[in-house]
């Protein structure tokens, strides 16, 4: 296999000097490309056999392939001549000597009974239909393989535009949708029986765009074209991505910048606490991006850093920032200094013993990207949009790591990280809340509010509405003065098997100089309500108060239009009413002892607050 040529480094707009990507501009661009307007493209002969009119895909296929370094010469077999072309060794298909063959059939053409007469079919007849479709695909692939060794892409089947049972389909013992899924599952299995035959996930493509908008009825009724203009573009683009994956190996290493890439802001200016990375906007955008990057690592992609920064500061941020999912050990190589990034990329490739054309480069700075493109045209430079909201799309949409067949090693690696068992457990139902909570594998950390947590604590105090017992909007300065005056302030962080929720709860208790303490503030972010986390925080608070000599703990509920979810909090936990209004409740340590820590929550604590 050869590596991708330089043209794959250009965006479509750069490539063609287009400001707007319209059907007309694609047609014009395709014409220019086929006339040889671009150098350095790898020529690829692509045959498309379809049971419908596929011709409108051509310009999109040509242009989107050119962006990915390929000069596609398409061959469109005559409409609905799939078998005729495949089984006739003298057909136009084989005369064309295709490098890649795509087979696009639709259930509407090959198994109309499954779509139109589904409810009239017995389960026996449905099975027969499934066998028939599978047999047809297998015979086609056998026929192809007798005359061609070219890689084959087989379109799978989209969900029907209309389900015959309508809203009742999903409740059928054997729903129409599930049968289409079974057809697709069996298609995938059939493909694995042949060398170099991959599924083209047409069903997914239709779903991503939207089944209801996918077709343009007039195109279907006038010309048997099953997709509208934008859908044609999407199919062309997805086909081009697959073609690229059949011709070029995936990049092996993702090289990342850090500032405004792994977090918001500039570390050297904003400091460890000032960079945006966490559970709230904009930090959550960067955290999500880190999540995607980690998932690539699970797939076997090496990670590296090329950053103009002070190395020690970056390492500290990765190691110690609570919300940085990416840790120093996740990176196979790091180049953090003030030198040229092309130098860094070469050093990374050399350290990992891979060639520089196996590098993909993700950097928010257009200047750095342009520099790397100019110095190292073989590197896949990912087009990064200005807004971090588009980062995941840019990374995933780049196709830099596309691989049609994951090797056994890749799959093993994936299992190592994600675990088949975990997946199976996710599939089992959660019969009770207890089981569900147990399977969440929650761990909470409780600590005392201090300087480094105060900003987040103040933020929660300012914005939490639902599970907020008193809704007192103390400022950070006021919280600080309360603490200075002897108040107990605790925060709680939660993580579970699905990830880290961050710092999600706060409580403050004050004493009036007596042994009676009052819970001034108790709140929890709504995304973790109902998991016994509130109980854990209350238990820790009660214990902290007891340690400080408190004899009774008074809880208040001050109703607002939004905080009904917190109304029964104190009575549920066994507090006794102090008055009939239902607003003030009391816990008497002498009579009732400690408030038990919930058993389903594992507690790691940095403060002496957990009852023993």
């Amino acid at each position: 296999m050869m590596r991708k040529p330089p043209a794959s480094q250009m965006s479509l707009t750069e490539l063609l000097g287009l400001s707007k990507l319209t059907p007309a501009s694609y047609l014009e661009a395709a014409r220019q490309i086929q006339a040889g307007a671009l150098d350095g493209l790898k020529a690829l002969r692509v045959a498309l056999l379809a049971t419908f009119t596929a011709d409108p895909l051509q310009p999109y296929l040509v242009v989107e392939s050119a962006v990915r370094g390929l000069l596609v010469k398409p061959y469109l077999a005559p409409f609905n001549q799939v078998e005729q072309q495949v089984f006739d060794r003298a057909s136009g298909l084989y005369a064309f000597r295709p490098d890649v063959i795509a087979i696009a059939t639709r259930l509407e053409e090959i198994a109309p009974r499954l779509l139109e007469r589904f409810l009239a079919l017995s389960s026996q007849e449905i099975e027969e239909e499934l066998d028939r479709i599978e047999g047809r695909v297998q015979r086609l692939l056998e026929g192809l393989r007798q005359s061609s060794l070219a890689p084959v892409l087989v379109f799978n089947y989209a969900a029907p535009a209309w389900l015959v049972a309508g809203v009742g389909d999903a409740s059928l013992a054997c729903s129409q949708l599930s049968v289409v899924q079974r057809v697709n599952d069996r298609l995938a299995t059939s493909c694995t029986q042949f060398n170099n035959v991959a599924v083209f996930d047409y069903a997914r493509l239709v779903g991503e765009y939207g089944l209801r908008r996918w077709s343009d009825p007039k195109l279907w009724y006038l010309a048997r074209i099953p997709f509208g203009a934008e859908a044609q573009r999407d199919v062309g683009r997805a086909l081009a991505r697959h073609l690229r994956a059949t011709c070029f190996p995936p990049c092996k290493c993702l090289v990342l910048d850090v500032d405004h890439t792994l977090w918001g802001g500039v570390l050297a200016e904003d400091g460890l606490q000032g960079i945006a990375l966490g559970e709230d906007y904009p930090g959550n955008v960067f955290k999500e991006f880190q999540r995607r990057v980690l998932s690539l690592r699970d797939r076997g992609i090496l990670l590296a850093i090329a950053s103009k920064n002070n190395e020690a500061e970056v390492l500290e941020a990765l190691q110690h920032h609570r919300d940085s999912l990416l840790k120093p050990e996740h990176f196979a190589a790091m180049q953090i200094h003030w030198q040229d990034k092309a130098v860094s990329l070469r050093a990374i490739a050399s350290a990992l013993n891979i060639s520089t054309d196996a590098l993909a480069f993700f950097d928010d700075s257009p200047v750095e990207r342009a520099w790397v493109r100019s110095q190292m045209p073989e590197v896949t430079v990912i087009d990064v949009p200005e807004s971090p909201l588009g980062f995941v799309q840019a990374l995933e949409g780049s196709g830099a790591f596309d691989q049609l067949f994951l090797s056994p090693e890749d799959r093993q690696r994936a299992q190592w990280y994600h675990g088949d068992q975990a997946r199976k457990r996710l599939q089992t139902a959660h019969p009770s809340l207890e089981t569900f909570l147990e399977e969440l594998e929650m761990t909470v950390t409780i600590g005392e509010v201090s300087g480094d947590t105060l900003p987040r604590v103040a933020q929660l105090v300012a914005k939490t509405n639902q599970f907020n017992l008193t809704t007192r909007r103390h400022t950070a300065a006021h919280l600080e003065s309360m603490l200075d005056a002897g108040a107990v302030g605790l925060w709680i962080r939660v993580r579970d098997r699905f990830g880290d929720h961050g710092l999600v709860g706060v409580t403050m208790a004050v004493s009036q100089g007596t042994d009676q303490w009052t819970i001034d503030t108790f709140l929890l972010s709504c995304r973790v309500i109902g998991r016994r986390i509130e109980t854990a925080l209350l238990s820790a608070l009660a214990n902290a108060v007891r340690i400080r000599g408190g004899k009774t703990l008074v809880g208040e509920y001050l109703p607002t239009p939004k905080n009904a979810p917190a109304e029964a909090f104190y009575p549920i936990h066994g507090f006794e009413p102090l008055e009939t209004s239902g607003r003030r409740w009391v816990w008497d340590f002498a009579a009732k002892g400690t408030i038990p820590m919930p058993s389903l929550v594992q507690v790691e604590s940095t403060a002496e607050v957990v009852a023993t």
């Binding site: 319209t22 409108p56 310009p59 007039k218 010309a223």
Partner: protein
Amino acid sequence: MTTQAVTQRIHRVVAHVFGVPLNSISDDSNPDTIPMWDSLSHINLILALEAEFGVSLTPEDTMDMVSVRLIRIILSERGVVEVPQDA
């Protein structure tokens, strides 16, 4: 930015879709004067016009738009009209 005349925009779309020089397009251009204008590329033309003018055309419109003049007339029926330059 001045609003580009509708006619000019139609001419440009037709030129792009069929790959012919802009100055060869006139109101009288039709499938007989543009060899590339066959039934399949006619579909491309319709989709290109829809995208250019942000309109949705019916099957009847599609079948009737068989010259640049007819395209202009049908588009105007669909609300695509000349905007005065000083508007």
